[in-house]
Amino acid sequence: MEDLMGEIKKHYEEKIRKEKTIPKFSVGDTVKVWIRVIEGNKSRLQGFQGVVIRKKGKGIEATFTVRRVSMDVGVERIFPLYGPTVEKVDVIKKGKVRRAKIYYIRERRGKSARIKERKK
């Protein structure tokens, strides 16, 4: 049987790929996500810096979660990888982790919440 659903997802994926480059990073990396915020008729970029703790889904449905600890409160934001609001993603530090999902970081504070840097 033909995989029509797959073709359609691919159709949209390629359409978005033509307009913007999909950022490359992996779980454990410290990234800064630039989000396009629209206020009235003005738009500006807002940064959100933190650690990628999860990458989920395939193709156009893919999302990633960035966690940061701000004023002693953990903040997690989920971004659609192909979303138009995600303007760009700067990789600040590459992290070396052994898990695909680093949820354990949620229970850690301070020194134990560090992630080893991956050297090339």
């Binding site: 029509l4 659903m5 073709e7 359609i8 997802k9 159709h11 949209y12 978005i16 396009r36 629209i38 156009i60 449905e61 659609p80 192909y82 979303g83 138009p84 609001t85």
Partner: protein
């Protein structure tokens, strides 16, 4: 209603539009054939009988096969001849026939092929489909009754409770909501927005979910 089409639910995904993520259901619309036209004078109302979803000619019943093929311009003798050949590449039958009431039948004639070019992005359409069968269900799932107490010796956790009064009237009122078969009923959703159309694949993307399982038939009316 201007036009009605037979489609097939393919699945769900998401689409980005104006910076927003929109959940969409993908509906495949194969070419629909106009098989019969009903008009006010003969039938009392205006309607088109549409057929869609091609199948091998020997799959359906013969009356439908003949009805479909005559509508598409074959004579009865020709059809008989083709059937005798056993292997025919001219014959085919249609899995779904459905009548759609429309205001004006002037622009259509029997044998016409209608596809999704009749639909446009941002159109509001009415979609009819059958829900998934859920089998014999209790009153909590079927009618959203409240649950009873979980503990303290409760004997009425998912029970329907009292079903009526005492000796007067001495019977259960008709239409009382009770456990029974749930699902596979027809649902009409109005005002469904078409988010996108991919003409080369014959596919409509409509906002939100639709009744029924993947590969089930839905009717789209505009």
């Amino acid at each position: 209603m201007k036009v009605g089409l037979i489609g097939k639910k393919i699945g769900m995904t998401q689409v980005f539009k104006d910076g927003k993520r929109i959940p969409v259901t993908v509906v495949k619309v194969e070419p629909n054939y106009v098989l019969q036209i009903k008009n006010e004078r003969n039938d009392g109302y205006n309607a088109l009988q549409m057929g869609a979803l091609k199948n091998k000619w020997y799959r359906g019943t013969k009356p439908i096969l003949v009805h479909v093929m005559t509508a598409l311009g074959m004579s009865k003798e020709e059809i008989e001849k083709e059937i005798k050949k056993r292997k025919s590449d001219k014959l085919f039958t249609l899995q779904v026939l459905k009548e759609f009431k429309i205001e004006d039948t002037k622009n259509y004639k029997v044998g016409d092929i209608i596809d999704i070019s009749k639909m446009a992005v941002d159109d509001k359409v009415t979609i009819i489909g059958n829900t998934k069968g859920r089998g014999f269900q209790g009153v909590v799932k079927r009618y959203n009754f409240h649950l009873g107490p979980k503990s303290h010796g409760s004997h009425s956790y998912r029970e329907p409770g009292s079903v009526g009064m005492c000796a007067d009237p001495g019977r259960v009122l008709k239409g009382k909501k009770m456990p029974g078969h749930m699902g596979t009923n027809q649902i009409t959703i109005k005002g469904v927005i078409i988010v996108d159309i991919i003409p080369e694949k014959g596919v409509l993307m409509v906002k939100g979910s639709l009744p029924g399982a993947t590969n089930s038939v839905v009717y789209i009316q505009k």
